[in-house]
């Protein structure tokens, strides 16, 4: 398994409560390095849960998950946090920018959380915003940016830490088609230029056309018909 490969093996997730809810069931999946992958499925199908488990934000109830040759399901919280810092980045549907911070400060935030000195973090933040065509927007607050600009800032925030795995949750949902395409192109660019792996959860069927690999999910289980013609050895197992 290469350094940025993500592998799920028999992963299940049940949310306990008055009425327990099965979000994922026996998911086996391997996502290759440097690929752009789109997970599709209806609402409540388990897409976000899968993304959260891949990102170490949730632990599976059953099964095992490997990232970069490490079984993250066995890692204690502290090491999981270190792994998230070192290798992962998230992009969210509603941008999740901190509204009191400028674009530059928002992008610098994950660096500062990793202990990078403020000055250096700001320099790297400016450079990344410049690369994404937002050089003249660095001192704007989120409310002063358009939807597309906000998502580009969010992508800059994800890319500035040079992650090996980018997890994006409906990154184009709040954007028009043209802006959404730009955002997808940015994510695809990151996979091409940096060899990073991107997993994008999306309802947007047009996004699937741009994906290297498409993963379908229905009722918490991988669905062969959702794959982009990719090989899978069973309805619940898929390799991209």
């Amino acid at each position: 398994m290469s350094a940025c490969t993500l592998r799920f093996e028999g992963v299940g997730k049940v949310y306990a409560g008055a009425v327990s809810c099965r979000a994922l069931h026996d998911v086996s999946l391997e996502v290759g390095c440097g690929t752009f992958n789109v997970i599709q499925g209806p609402s409540g199908s388990g897409k976000t849960t899968l993304l959260a488990i891949a990102g170490g934000l949730e632990r599976p109830t059953t099964g095992r998950v490997w990232l970069s040759e490490r079984e993250i399901t066995l890692l204690p919280a502290r090491q999981l946090l270190e792994l998230r810092r070192a290798e992962l980045a998230f992009v969210f549907q509603d941008f999740k920018l901190i509204d009191i911070l400028t674009a530059e400060e928002n992008v610098a935030l994950p660096l500062e959380l990793r202990g990078v000195r403020a000055r250096s973090a700001r320099e790297r933040s400016r450079a990344m915003l410049d690369r994404l065509g937002l050089g003249c927007r660095i001192s704007r607050r989120p409310r002063e940016l358009s939807g597309g600009e906000k998502q580009r800032v969010a992508i800059a925030r994800a890319l500035v830490t040079e992650p090996r795995l980018i997890l994006a949750d409906e990154p184009t949902a709040n954007l028009d088609w043209e802006t959404g395409s730009e955002v997808v192109e940015l994510l695809r660019g990151a996979t091409r230029e940096r060899g990073a792996t991107a997993i994008v959860v999306s309802h947007d069927s047009r996004l699937a056309l741009l994906a290297d690999h498409q993963i379908g999910i229905v009722d918490g289980a991988l669905h062969r018909n959702g794959s982009n013609g990719l090989p899978g050895d069973s309805p619940g197992r898929m390799k991209t």
């Binding site: 810092r85 998230f90 509603d94 999740k96 009191i100 911070l101 935030l109 959380l113």
Partner: protein
């Protein structure tokens, strides 16, 4: 180090101002009370220190200047001066007396000075003379200011009129003030003759303790104290009345400050719950989120403490005209302690909100 908490504090100005105002009020209340206490203490002790007397001698049962019990005949002076180590003895008479003012009566702590008093006269004089002649009086400046009296004016003390010869400083005890007149005049007012409340002794260098022992061996009717002990006794007298109230008010003030910080920080954390989840998802650990909350709280505490001290300074400038008998003494260490206290209070107030922030699951960032 992540500075997000300071950004929150400074960019959410209304919340920040309200939190800082709560801390400022707590600091103002606490330091004001400490300042009044220190002012009253200084007024009490400054006169005693200023006399330069090495040993104070009073009637047995007397242990401080404010609660003198009984008298000693003035004719004991040569007997005291005979004691080995004693250089000189100066008798003073002391009594609380009512002064009549246009708006009612106020009580003064009258000190009757002997002719040619060298030790017992007031040391800090703002106007006029320190030593009154017969029929004259030296008043504390707070009292004089309150009554609108100046050097040369007349004041009625226990139904006798005195001409004001001088105005003294550091002779204000908050609840009363020192007034200095001739011992003969005070004896006349009290209807006694040849009596002293205290003898102020000068002794040879380093012999204070030995002289105190000799005095106590010589007579069971007197009490003698070296300067340090007498100062401590007077300090305890002031503290016994003041400190319980001060401690209670300071506790109330700090509790209010902590409650304001806790409430404001708590609402800030609830409102920004999504941000704390995001910080977790972006790689911020519990320590980072704890720090972000603490930064907000501590920034408000520092700003509030400084604002409280500035307000106190303004009040201190206004007090002499508004309430001259209230004398504020705020030493730098008190101001520093106030800032430190505000920081500790704010940190305590922010503990629960910080606990909530650290418990927010990063997964919440993915929920819509």
């Amino acid at each position: 180090m992540i500075l997000l908490g300071f950004h929150y504090a400074l960019r959410e100005r209304t919340r920040f101002a309200l939190t800082a105002a709560g801390v400022a009020a707590a600091v103002l209340l606490t330091v004001f009370l400490v300042g009044v206490y220190r002012g009253a203490t200084r007024g009490s002790l400054s006169y005693i220190e200023g006399t330069g007397a090495d040993v104070w001698v009073g009637r047995r049962g007397t242990w401080n200047l404010l609660r003198a019990g009984g008298m000693i005949p003035v004719k004991a002076k040569p007997l005291l001066e005979e004691i080995r180590g004693v250089v000189s003895a100066e008798p003073i008479l002391e009594s609380l007396l009512p002064a009549k003012l246009s708006d009612g009566r106020r009580t003064l702590l009258a000190i009757g000075l002997p002719a040619g008093a060298s030790l017992s006269r007031p040391r800090h004089i703002e106007a006029g003379r320190a030593m009154p002649r017969r029929g004259e009086i030296v008043l504390d400046r707070a009292f004089a200011h309150r009554a609108g009296l100046h050097v040369g004016d007349r004041v009625e003390l226990a139904d006798r009129t005195f001409r004001i010869a001088g105005i003294s400083r550091e002779t204000n005890l908050l609840v009363t003030q020192y007034a200095f007149l001739r011992r003969e005049d005070l004896e006349s007012l009290l209807g006694v003759e040849g009596q002293a409340t205290f003898f102020l002794l000068r002794v040879r260098h380093g012999e204070s303790h030995a002289v105190v022992k000799r005095l106590e061996r010589r007579s069971r009717l007197i009490a003698a104290f070296d300067r340090a002990t007498f100062l401590e006794n007077n300090h305890r007298e002031i503290a016994s009345g003041f400190l319980p109230v001060l401690a209670a008010m300071a506790l109330i003030g700090l509790s209010i400050g902590a409650a304001v910080v806790a409430l404001m920080t708590y609402t800030a954390v609830l409102e920004k719950r999504g941000d704390y989840a995001l910080i977790g998802a972006l790689g911020g650990g519990e320590g980072s989120r704890f720090l972000v909350v603490m930064q907000q709280s501590l920034a408000a505490a520092v700003a509030g403490a400084l604002a409280g001290l500035v307000l106190l300074h303004v009040i201190g400038r206004l007090l002499p005209s508004m309430a001259p008998e209230v004398e504020l003494v705020v030493e730098p260490w008190v101001a520093a302690a106030a800032i430190l206290g505000a920081l500790v209070t704010a940190a305590i107030g922010a503990l629960v909100p910080a606990g909530i922030a650290t418990s927010v699951a990063p997964m919440e960032a993915l929920r819509r």
